[in-house]
């Protein structure tokens, strides 16, 4: 067997996959990314341990949770973040709401990235008629006002938690598909792919060994950044009253239920709002850092 040294520009010399462990170390050197990861870990822990740490049940309407006139209580020593219009403990509802947001965020974005990656890779790698049809369809989806589409879809299926996740995925896969399509396409035009073809590698081999490893970083980045978009869309849908249905607590529907009282009871909007912001921001910070670490050439608006 003869020894052939790898050239620096050989894809095997530094495939994006082999860079991943190093990327993790680089990520830990960025304070903002670390802060984001801490927030995510904290909220995930809170969601997982919800029944253990919540002082009250999420749907428990407490007699002492309302004033004599029936108004919600501001934050105090018994109810740390106050109570809502029905005398329920806001902190407990926020803790259970973390479950809703995280589950929908991860599931919906997982589906969206899977659809997007599948469509993008198929269209970018196989080209031809199929590619044209798929990419024209994504163009079409881009022309829909996203929120209107989500609202119509959510109205169409009576929303449960999973349906909301599905609706969000059906709206959010488009951007991922476009990014991955562009990337796959430019990869197939690179010289090392032509070289593989020339030495007789089959389509499957090229796809699995050479295209997919280069797409993985993009999928990781979108798998993270996209959760933030998903969390925001879930909150917005719940805020207009067609997302997660009460009494299941979601940070968005808590604001929906209480918004008309925000002048006399601002904490009912403020605390859930801060939670949504914290979760979305955390995923954005980690995702952005991942993008810079995994692919330093990518810039701008995703």
């Amino acid at each position: 067997m003869t020894f052939t040294p790898l050239r620096a520009d050989d894809p095997r010399a530094g495939s994006p996959l082999s860079r991943t462990p190093g990327a993790m170390r680089m990520l830990l050197r960025r304070p903002l990314a670390v802060a984001g990861m801490i927030v995510i870990a904290f909220l995930a822990l809170v969601a997982a341990a919800a029944p253990l740490i919540a002082p009250y049940g999420p749907a428990e309407q407490l007699f002492e949770g309302l004033t004599i006139e029936g108004a919600p209580l501001p934050p105090n020593s018994q109810f740390l973040l106050g109570t809502d219009l029905l005398g329920r403990d806001l902190l407990s509802r926020l803790i259970y709401g973390a479950r809703t947001s995280l589950v929908i965020g991860i599931v919906a974005n997982g589906i969206a990235v899977s659809i997007g990656a599948f469509v993008g890779i198929v269209a970018g790698f196989f080209r031809g008629f199929l590619a044209t049809v798929l990419m024209r369809f994504t163009d079409l989806m881009m022309a829909f006002p996203a929120l209107l589409l989500a609202i119509v879809l959510a109205a169409l299926f009576r929303p449960s938690l999973w349906i909301v996740a599905l609706v969000i995925a059906l709206v959010n896969w488009v951007q991922v598909a476009r990014v991955i399509y562009t990337e796959t396409r430019s990869l197939t035009e690179r010289e090392f792919i032509a070289a593989e073809r020339a030495i007789g590698a089959g389509r499957t081999r090229i796809l699995v060994h050479h295209i997919l490893p280069h797409i993985v970083p993009t999928i990781i980045v979108w798998g993270t950044l996209g959760i933030s978009t998903t969390v925001l869309l879930e909150a917005t849908l719940s805020f207009v009253g067609i997302g997660v249905r009460p009494p299941t607590p979601s940070w968005g529907n808590m604001i929906f239920e209480n918004q008309s009282y925000f002048i006399s009871a601002p904490w009912l909007v403020f605390f859930p709002g801060v939670c949504i912001l914290a979760l979305a921001l955390a995923f954005n910070l980690v995702g952005d850092a991942l993008r810079e670490v995994l692919d330093p050439t990518q810039k701008g608006r995703y």
Binding site: A143, L147, A155, V269
Partner: protein, 306 residues
């Protein structure tokens, strides 16, 4: 260029046609019955049937769609089921309010986004830069309804600087425009920073410095115009963001635009209005993208049309 324009126009029309088919199909399979909404809950089966016949709702899908699209070709968007008014009249009466809001939002995003982006680029790596970038991410990650409610609480309820809701004067416009524009401002700040950093490393900037142009002159006259090029093309794309944003922002501030119109129509299953607003939004988004693609090569000759 002309051939490119023609091809893009044909593409745009096809996309709009596709949007109309899909929206119509989605609304067709909607489980809520518009006849029930019109005739009221106590209506008997015979009344419901006659309402359906009157509106043509008993016809098969392709016949209903064909009727809609042939009327649309004549500029007729149909009549609202509940308000008995032409949809085009309703949209036309609401559009100015929404346009006002969007113009205000564009102003906010450009003013805040571009100036903060330039500032961050000039202070690259320092505390100001770090804080501004964190701020821009915070704004991007904030749900618009929360931003709207908080702005309302602080600046209208507590400080009393602006009215709590309503429409008409300039002071009514400030908070809703800010709410709609902040998201874009976050994006623009990030893009402007990276665009500015790219330009500041170019040779012609070094040349300008070397020949003794003052720092302010270099930034304003040499770097800024070039850094703005890639940004301007993005404005067209913002229309998509706005079309989603106005539904929420208008509902928070009670702004009488097409976002509110659409939202009320969705709740009442007033299908012709939903259809009309979706189509108008799609036209706006497609035009915005078209404009973005057409402007880009005009302002930057290095970009070639495909």
């Amino acid at each position: 260029m002309l051939a490119y324009l023609a091809r893009r126009l044909v593409q745009s029309v096809l996309i709009l046609f596709g949007v109309s088919v899909i929206t119509f199909a989605l609304l067709y399979i909607l489980p809520a019955d518009p006849a029930q909404q019109i005739a009221g809950r106590s209506a008997n089966a015979a009344t419901l049937a006659s309402v359906r016949e009157q509106l043509g709702l008993d016809r098969p899908f392709h016949e209903q769609y064909w009727r809609y699209i042939t009327h649309l070709a004549e500029g007729d968007l149909g009549r609202s089921y509940l308000q008995k008014t032409e949809v085009s009249t309703l949209i036309a009466s609401r559009l100015p309010a929404s346009l006002q809001l969007m113009v205000g939002a564009i102003f906010c995003e450009l003013f805040l986004g571009l100036s903060l982006g330039v500032l961050a680029a000039l202070r690259r790596g320092r505390v100001t830069d770090r804080l501004l970038m964190l701020l821009s991410f915070t704004v991007i990650s904030a749900p618009q309804f929360v931003v709207g409610i908080l702005l309302l609480y602080v600046f209208a309820v507590k400080l009393g600087w602006f009215p709590i809701g309503g429409y008409g004067t300039f002071s009514h416009l400030v908070l809703p425009s800010l709410t709609l524009g902040l998201l874009g401002a976050g994006w623009y700040a990030r893009m402007m920073r990276s665009s500015m950093l790219d330009v500041l490393h170019q040779d012609y900037i070094r040349t300008a410095r070397a020949k003794g142009v003052a720092r302010a002159g270099v930034v304003l006259r040499h770097a800024l115009p070039n850094a703005l090029l890639p940004i301007i093309a993005m404005i067209g794309i913002d229309i998509g963001l706005f079309m989603s944003g106005i539904v929420v922002v208008e509902s928070v501030f009670g702004w009488p635009g097409i976002g509110q119109l659409a939202w009320q129509a969705i709740q009442r299953v007033d299908i012709p209005i939903i259809m009309g607003v979706t189509l108008v939004s799609a036209v706006a988004i497609v035009l915005g993208n078209l404009l973005a693609d057409l402007i880009a090569p005009l302002i930057d000759p290095r970009i070639k049309v495909r």
